[in-house]
Symmetry: C2
Subunit: 412 residues, 2 copies
């Protein structure tokens, strides 16, 4: 699989995070080419955790376990495999999760609720219960501090149909102390149950307890991972975890209303947004990265629904692939979003050029600069609803023959 | 454009409907090849009307006019053009509708509210106000009784990206009198604002007043035109009109609770379903016709939402194109539908063969007969939710390179 034309030049250089160790390992789950298919992250004692998990009602066995463990608020290990999602695998799926957690507990001496498993890959194919468990002793020997190349090893171990590994980092200042946020993600379709889903693991040394950590992560998710779409499909395994080792030297943040959270939240927002946008840039078959900004809606929620309706429209996405500033398709998507809109108040711009307003094409509209914009890799669509103050921005990619090639070929 | 491989062998032979005259005419709106682009239907005095119009909030000028006229309950003329949807054309669009209605009124001596206009084609390109109006005197000279080839002439005049004309008919008995229902439709994407939308015109000689006619049509729409999807997009111009000339010899049906409506409703259901399925069979790029039956949901509405989520999933649709019975993608779509589902109660069958149940693949599942079914043109997917008694059936087609070719090419 060729690397996406929208990929960054290289994996970024990510800073160390004290109290985090990472390993990539090959358990031999599915891949015939020699590559790691298990990622282990071990956190020092006292680490707190937050997570956002798929809302799918047919979620995988690991998702159910993570949801239960999250209530404890504490984390010692993440154990993630690629190649098999362990979704829709019945009791065998539960047994696999049990065995993986038991093996981790035996190695670390932690509580079972401090282990957060995840699986990504094909749906509905039960694995031997001990497939990862038996490989964990060797995997643990490979654990190294989260710094330098260790990040990319972790990022690569969880890849499936991804064409490039995805990493991001940011820093913030709390009480004069610099704290770091860094992590990695995988995903290339919102879901392609054969070999894809969205997983993201973010780490920080900030001294923040579970509840405020969760508040920050949930908020960041709305504006990042929940504001992207490749094909509108939601995985049975989508998982985002934020672990805080609490090693930084500032006084602990225990409450969700602590004003010191603001700067930290900004850093988490930045990392989540960067990772989310990289997932779009690796969208299956993507050749264009599309930003859709909606303003003037009745509410932020209305704006987001409108923006996602435009972003998920196959007609808008194929028009982008065809480098056609087909604003009629944008109008149609706005109209069917279910949110209030008035034809005569809508203003639509592409590439910063106003195309229509007052219920019709702008008189004297010159398509030339817009056509030039559509030939680029970064497309901007702006829709002003003209009714209120609600705003939202979402990101998507075009719908191309490449998407059909990847998803229309048989599983083998 | 090659005729869809899913097209019927030929346009059906449709029976006459007393009191209906049809004409096809060329006004020269857009097409360079010599073809009709205007369809006129004239109904005898005393005809009643029902209609279902797009719920799009950016609906076209003709839609707004039809919605206003519907309150009158009476119809004398339908005037429909292909090539330009007159959507998002501002005041010019209103002027075009005014001129078209005025010209029709002058020719027929009817009320303005008895004229139902519609337009399909490119969005956002204002037409000269009199483009159709000036051609109507000549078009009216071509009016012939609705019988024989007149039906196909009408059906062809409203085609845009359609690869074949779509007609259907049925009969019913009211008080021992046979009444006829016949009509035609166009559409190949739910919307492709360049040159597509869904229009359907159905006629009957039954003696039924506006209110009961509307009740029958609205109900039929739920199980036909609102149970199909090609790409999940809704047109700004979708229009379905049912005209009753009331020429049949039975006593008039004036109320919505008249028991004699049942047989008539069945005929309207049949015609609407036939036309709707033909639209799916002409879905842009379609190579497979897919029926999705959902049972055991909390309610019929829940079942329909689940069925449409499966039908609109690009991953399910590309799997069908790839002849892959990828039930993992069906599970994922059910899970994200927003309706209640329980992984361990789901039963999924393809081609009549049960594939998964009890939260996992059926033990000993033999893929061979399912793989053979997937190679055919008619695909059946059944999902039993196992929770309640709600059922729904929807129809869709696969998502192929052909769809990208049609919609990803520039407008010119």
């Amino acid at each position: 699989m060729a690397v996406s034309p929208l990929a960054p030049a290289s994996f970024p250089s990510l800073p160390p995070i004290a109290g985090v160790r990472l390993a990539g390992h090959r358990a031999g789950i599915r891949y015939k080419t020699p590559r790691n298919d298990v990622m282990v992250a071990v956190l020092d004692e006292g680490s707190s955790v937050a997570a956002v998990l798929t809302r799918s009602l047919t979620a995988s066995a690991p998702i159910h376990r993570c949801r239960a463990h999250l209530a404890g608020g504490s984390v010692r290990a993440l154990v993630v495999n690629a190649g098999n999602s362990n979704a829709f695998t019945g009791k065998a799926g539960e047994a696999f999760v049990d065995a993986t957690i038991d093996a981790t507990v035996a190695l670390l001496g932690c509580k079972p609720t401090e282990v957060f498993p995840a699986s990504t890959g094909v749906i509905g194919q039960p694995m031997p219960a001990d497939l990862i468990a038996k490989s964990l002793p060797e995997a643990f020997t490979k654990l190294v501090p989260a710094e330098g190349e260790a990040w990319e090893v972790g990022a690569r171990a969880i890849m499936t149909t991804d064409t490039f590994p995805k990493g991001a980092s940011a820093t913030a200042t709390i009480d004069g102390v610099t704290v770091t946020v860094a992590g990695f993600a995988k995903g290339s379709g919102m879901i392609a149950p054969d070999m894809a889903t969205m997983l993201a693991y973010v780490f920080t040394d900030a001294n923040i307890a579970h509840a405020p950590l969760q508040a920050v992560l949930s908020s960041a998710t709305d504006r990042s991972f929940n504001s992207i779409t490749v094909d509108g499909d939601t995985s049975t395994s989508d998982t985002l975890v934020l672990c805080a080792t609490r090693k930084a030297g500032h006084a602990a943040i225990e409450g969700t209303d602590d004003p010191r959270l603001a700067a930290f939240a900004k850093a988490v927002d930045a990392v989540c947004l960067d990772l989310a946008q990289q997932i779009v840039r690796d969208g299956e078959g993507a050749t264009k990265f599309v930003e859709i900004r909606v303003t003037g809606a009745d509410s932020d929620a209305a704006a987001k629904r409108i923006a996602l309706t435009v972003a998920n429209s196959p007609l808008v996405k194929t028009a982008v692939a065809g480098e056609d500033a087909n604003w009629g398709r944008i109008v149609a998507a706005v109209g069917r979003s279910g949110e209030r809109a008035d034809r005569d108040l809508l203003v639509i711009s592409v590439g910063g050029v106003q195309i229509c307003a007052n219920g019709m094409e702008v008189p004297g509209y010159d398509e030339a600069p817009v056509a030039a914009h559509m030939k680029g890799q970064e497309i901007l669509m702006e829709v002003d609803i003209g009714l209120g103050t609600g705003t939202a921005t979402v990101w998507t990619c075009d719908l191309t023959h490449g998407y059909i090639d990847i998803n229309g070929s048989y599983r083998s």
